[in-house]
């Protein structure tokens, strides 16, 4: 029988590979700065600023998506809200980017707002799908036990949401990275990865290496964080 215990590293090789994966992006950035003759601090700060913007947008999107999913996943409210969410997610967000940039300028708010409305939909729909997959028996058990209010949210709806939250995050952040760079370029932010790519738009080598570096970072985050989480959360729902 499986005991409940936290085993993060099965073998020493696993630990070594994990540390190696964590250091690769940093080594790559140093190499990149050296080969492209860019100040290292500038490159690191571009990556860091963009990463923090995405993280901020993602955090807000997760909280909003969860609240919307829990509030509207079933009953009459779902019949009204789900078609609205569906239309909103198809909304051509880039069409309002110039307007957002006009109102807020090339600021963090513009980028974060834009990222939120990009990232939120896959997370929202995946959580809704997770909640809808809850067995009727579980709902009835929660009901007769008397789970309600905060206890119901924390002990029933939250754990039920997690598989959808993880799946939605993987898709949402994939779209988020894409939108991040585009938004920073279009809005004209003076810092971040968008500004970096814009500044070196004439240089094929730097652009290619930059894109490669970004993909490497995304791959490593997925490998170390999202894929293990995906497996674990879905295992947790196995009966």
């Amino acid at each position: 029988m499986t005991k409940k215990q936290t085993v993060i590293y099965q073998t020493r090789l696993h630990l070594v590979l994990t540390i190696l994966l964590i250091t690769i992006p940093f080594v790559f950035l140093l190499f990149f700065a050296w080969i492209a003759n860019i100040p290292t601090a500038k490159l690191f700060s571009a990556v860091f600023i963009s990463f923090v913007r995405l993280l901020a947008a993602y955090t807000i999107a997760v909280v909003l998506a969860w609240m919307l999913a829990v509030g509207f996943y079933q009953g009459k409210r779902a019949a009204i809200a789900l078609p609205i969410f569906d239309v909103l997610q198809s909304f051509p967000t880039f069409a309002i980017l110039p307007l957002a940039a006009y109102i807020w300028g090339p600021s963090n708010i513009t980028v974060i707002f834009f990222l939120i409305i990009t990232v939120i939909w896959p997370i929202l729909f995946s959580i809704i799908s997770s909640l809808k997959l809850a067995k009727k028996d579980w709902e009835e058990a929660a009901q007769i036990m008397g789970l309600r209010g905060k206890t119901y949210l924390r002990n029933f709806l939250l754990p039920l949401s997690i598989p959808g939250l993880v799946t939605g995050s993987i898709i949402g952040l994939g779209e988020g990275w894409e939108a991040l760079v585009a938004t920073e370029i279009i809005a004209g932010n003076p810092d971040g990865l968008g500004s970096f790519f814009k500044a070196h738009s004439q240089n094929v080598m730097i652009t290619s290496l930059g894109v490669f570096g970004l993909l490497l970072l995304i791959f490593i985050i997925n490998k170390l964080l999202w894929l293990p989480l995906l497996e674990r959360t879905h295992n947790n729902m196995e009966e």
Binding site: I144, G146, P159, E238
Partner: protein
């Protein structure tokens, strides 16, 4: 004489089908269930037994008629054992049982020993950190029963609790349930389609008709406990029930 724990008066339930036609599933059920007795509903599959149980337990709220609980039985004094266990797959055995206490607002410091007491009673203490996916059907239903018992309920509703288990496991769990009942004397309201199971456990057996469910007859089973399932009286009562049940 025991007082009435649960009283049903002219309970009716209709379902609306997709074509907006109404189908009657429960028709005019009236009966009293006494405190501390094991009351079993038997009837053919699809007769509406589970729906009736959900109405009595308060899970199903859409019906006509009246279900009255004794004044000393609050909704917190009731629990439910499900046919397919309905234990949460993301929680360990311990956490599943503890959840019933969390729902009742029992403080963290008081929960541990109460949960462990029930786990010991049902032979689950060694599996307390296991997840449901690692347990056999019998063990899962033990968790379901432990969760139902941990709040020390006055009424326990059981929806075909042994039908997903092999016959050996079901027999041993029935015996354990009887031991617990004799020790604590909760009211047990159970539905089953297995006549022998009803005869082994029940004080009273309500025979339901095929859909819509009506009470054909309430048979009193006062065979002495522990019941000899191979005795002449047992077989006589079994014959009587089989004649009453219409497929």
């Amino acid at each position: 004489m025991n007082k009435v724990a649960l009283s049903l008066s002219h309970v009716n339930k209709v379902f609306k089908t997709d074509g907006q036609k109404t189908v009657s599933v429960i028709h005019d059920v009236s009966l009293d269930i006494l405190s501390g007795e094991i009351f079993v509903f038997v009837g053919p599959s699809g007769s509406g037994k589970s729906t009736l149980l959900r109405i009595m337990s308060g899970i199903e709220k859409s019906f006509t008629g009246e279900v009255k609980r004794s004044k000393d039985v609050s909704p917190h004094d009731m629990s439910f054992v499900f046919q397919q266990f309905a234990i949460m797959p993301w929680l360990t055995v311990f956490e599943n049982v503890e959840l019933a206490l969390i729902a009742r607002g029992v403080k963290q410091g008081e929960r541990g020993h109460t949960v462990m007491r029930e786990l010991k009673q049902l032979g689950l203490e060694k599996s307390k950190d296991s997840y449901p996916r690692d347990l056999s059907g019998g063990m899962r239903q033990r968790v379901g029963i432990a969760r139902a018992l941990v709040t020390n309920p006055k009424i326990i509703f059981m929806d075909e609790p042994f039908s997903e288990l092999d016959s050996f496991t079901a027999a041993s769990l029935r015996k354990e349930l009887l031991d617990i009942w004799q020790e604590r004397r909760p009211t047990i309201v159970m539905v089953t389609h297995v006549v022998e199971e009803a005869l082994e456990l029940a004080d009273k057996i309500a025979v339901l008709t095929p859909r819509p469910a009506r009470v054909e007859k309430v048979v009193v089973d006062n065979l002495p406990r522990p019941r000899d399932t191979r005795s002449k009286n047992f077989y006589q009562l079994e014959d009587e029930l089989y004649q009453l049940i219409k497929p």
